[in-house]
């Protein structure tokens, strides 16, 4: 089959670029209602506590505010090997009394696990920590409110470094 001659409109380039950017903005989807697809309600509760202790609420949202536990649930849903590992690990975390512990005790437990590199508790801690980092710093709350990211947008001009003390 022959490809029909196709042309891309290339007139008024700046206008076109802006149109595209606007087009992107109109496509912003409303946040979907969060539904756990892999973990049980009990597991989701525990997961929410765990991610919130790893990245807690401050003057900006924490990991549970940013629905990071649902992010982890979706990772588990699409990667069943990871999912069954996480189920086992959540069960281990529960057995340590994490779910029912006061916040201070939860921090003590996490601190102990985080300081034992090379052990199974450390592996479990690091796994949840890494997932929390991926989830939180890829969320709207984590990226825009916490880190101040404001990019992937239309600019007429790129100014580069605008710190006067750095030669701007």
């Amino acid at each position: 089959m022959l490809q029909a001659s196709a042309t891309l409109a290339i007139a008024a380039p700046a206008m076109q670029a802006q149109d595209h950017a606007q087009h992107g903005l109109t496509q912003i989807e409303k946040a979907a209602p969060q539904v756990a697809r892999f973990f049980s309600k009990q597991e989701m509760n525990l997961l929410a506590q765990l991610v919130e202790q790893i990245i807690p609420r401050s003057d900006t949202p924490g990991a549970a505010d940013a629905n990071v536990h649902y992010f982890v649930d979706f990772q588990a849903h699409t990667n069943r090997k990871l999912g069954s590992q996480l189920k086992k690990d959540l069960s281990w975390v529960r057995k340590q009394g994490f779910a029912k512990a006061e916040s201070g005790k939860q921090v003590e437990l996490l601190t102990a696990w985080s300081k034992t590199k090379g052990t199974e508790p450390y592996r479990i801690f690091k796994q949840f920590k890494d997932l929390t980092i991926d989830g939180y710093y890829g969320s709207k709350e984590g990226l825009t409110q916490e880190l101040g990211w404001n990019a992937n947008t239309f600019l007429r001009e790129f100014k580069g470094c605008t710190h006067p003390e750095h030669g701007a």
């Binding site: 022959l2 490809q3 380039p13 595209h20 979907a32 990245i55 990019a151 992937n152 470094c161």
Partner: protein, 548 residues
């Protein structure tokens, strides 16, 4: 099986639609030559690219079962193998424009430091061309496609005559540039095929930074919009979609007579006849086609009387080093997208200081990923958790700097692509196998590359993220494969002459990275474009003279 075998004999058949094939088709059609181009896929719909989709929107879409356009070829569709334990990462794009849809846009000229390397040090064959041969073509390519950059030539990085304005530097880039200067190393404006102001009817960049997903306004060079669309307007270009080329056919007169291909989806076998053939299917796939094109005259592949085709595969060695500049810690995050990827480049310098190295050739460095990124993966390398951890991540966020040194890999006969005894693909054609490793030369160079990168980071007083000295990214991950159908003066040691024309089969030209005599440390696309233009100028001239 019934083979559709059209009686028409095409003037020129071009195989591949990326930088190499696109340039060949464009340059021939504008000179009045009829071209039939075989593309292994179809056109990608620019309006479908997920360019203006924020990270959290991306997630929401994926959770709803949506997916961005599949631009990279799924290797399950066209498998390949490698010799364990040396995995070779092979990234291919089948479809209009090939890898130029998502390439890194780094547009560096080779210099005579590169072209004269092998002649000076005697490792493998010399290049048959020098900078003066290709310089006029670099000029034309840059004027045609638009390359932004500075006015800051080096002996290892010449030719800044036609640059579009360079983008402003990010804070972290300024720190690394100054730090390198203190180490006696020049870091210049990067040269990239991004249109920073309207150029030849192409829209300028709007600094959204999502170039890797495909540009929604075609503000960086891609073969589809910059070469094939204009070529189609001449009325001289026909493109055949979904044509997966298997073999180039040889006639009794010793010339190539046509191409056997399979429809990507129906698997229907077809043959088209042509008077001249230009192969530009990207280094690795072109090599597979050549090796599978066996005949009584050329039992190891068409035009392979020298035996070099498939051998001397050379990619590049590279690694990544990250750190945080103290002066930038805790500052307000800026929009650091710019033109996506780095705005600075470290050209090769190790030939200048007069110190003798215990290795041949050289390295440069790229710097993508500096400043505010759409994520904070570095946080995984910071200890702890909780509020202090959260603060530590935020403090470092605007201060992230990165270096990505690239080093040349020497051509070696044993680094090779073969099709002997491999499984066949879904069309019944042997798949390719890659045997690849680096040697002592690269290991010694890598040691200096690590010293250099650490030295620059330390000069910037950066807090360096933990790294393992000597670690390398996957072979193949630079996506700069070269050398498996190399050009040279000596037909016993090379497959092509200096015009990318086969020594053995005069009406067959190979114009992609496989034609390179060496890999250099530089990104090859600009040189592929210049060589393909030069080669097809020569071809058109030979046609006019009646020699071809």
């Amino acid at each position: 099986m019934y083979v559709q075998n059209a009686p028409e004999v095409h003037d020129v058949i071009v195989i591949g639609s990326g930088a190499a094939g696109g340039m060949a088709a464009w340059n021939l059609t504008r000179q009045g030559v009829n071209v039939t181009l075989l593309d292994a896929g179809t056109r990608f719909r620019r309006e479908d690219f997920w360019t203006h989709v924020k990270p959290w929107q991306w997630r929401e879409r994926v959770e709803r079962g949506m997916a961005p356009p599949q631009i990279r070829l799924d290797n399950a569709e066209q498998p390949y193998s490698w010799k364990d334990p040396n995995y070779f990462e092979l990234i291919r794009v089948w479809g209009r424009g090939g890898k130029t849809n998502i390439w890194g846009r780094v547009a560096l000229r080779y210099s005579d430091v590169d072209f004269e390397g092998p002649a000076k040090d005697g490792w493998e064959i010399p290049w048959p061309i020098r900078y003066k041969d290709i310089a006029p073509y670099y000029d034309r390519v840059e004027q045609e496609i638009g390359v932004c950059g500075g006015d800051d030539d080096q002996d290892s990085l010449p030719g800044s005559k036609f640059h579009l304005p360079p983008p402003a530097l990010r804070c972290g880039e300024k720190f690394l540039q100054a730090a390198a200067r203190r180490q006696g190393i020049s870091v210049v404006n990067q040269r990239r095929a991004v249109v920073t102001k309207p150029h030849n009817g192409h829209s300028p960049c709007h600094f959204c930074g999502a170039c890797g997903r495909g540009c929604d306004v075609s503000a960086f060079f891609n073969s589809t919009d910059y070469l094939l669309d204009p070529a189609e307007k001449t009325g001289k270009l026909k493109i055949i979609d979904n044509a997966v080329v298997a073999r180039i056919l040889l006639g009794d007169n010793g010339l190539a007579t046509g191409v056997q291909y399979f429809d990507r989806f129906t698997k229907q076998e077809r043959v088209i006849r042509g008077k001249r053939i230009v192969l530009g299917a990207s280094c690795v796939d072109s090599t597979r086609i050549l090796l599978n094109s066996k005949s009584a005259k050329y039992p190891t592949g068409i035009g392979n009387s020298s035996g070099v085709i498939g051998n001397y595969l050379c990619e590049q060695v590279r690694f990544h080093m990250y750190g945080f500049v103290p002066d930038l810690m805790g500052t307000k995050a800026l929009n650091d997208d710019g033109i996506g990827g780095e705005h600075i480049y470290m050209p090769r310098f190790n030939h200048r200081d007069g110190k003798k190295r215990d290795y041949l050739r050289g390295f440069g460095s790229q710097f993508w990923g500096i400043g505010a990124q759409p994520g904070a993966a570095y946080a995984k390398q910071l200890d702890g958790f909780g509020l202090d951890f959260k603060k530590a991540v935020k403090r470092r966020y605007p201060a992230l700097v990165a270096m990505h040194p690239y080093g040349e890999t020497l051509p070696r006969k044993e680094n090779r692509i073969t099709v002997e005894g491999t499984p066949v693909d879904k069309y019944g054609v042997p798949t390719l196998r890659i045997e690849y490793n680096i040697g002592d030369n690269e290991k010694k160079m890598i040691a200096e590359m690590y010293d250099m990168a650490e030295g620059v980071m330390r000069a910037a007083k950066a807090e360096i993220l933990p790294f393992e000295r000597g670690w390398l990214d996957s072979f193949g991950s630079a996506i700069h494969e070269h050398g498996t159908c190399r050009m040279g003066e000596d037909p016993r040691r090379s497959a092509l002459n200096g015009f990318n024309q086969m020594h053995d089969v005069k009406n067959l030209f190979v114009v992609d990275g496989s034609a390179f005599s060496t890999a250099s440390e530089k990104n090859p696309t600009l040189t592929i474009l210049a060589l393909a233009w030069r080669s097809t100028d020569y071809m058109a001239e030979e046609m006019r003279k009646g020699n071809l």
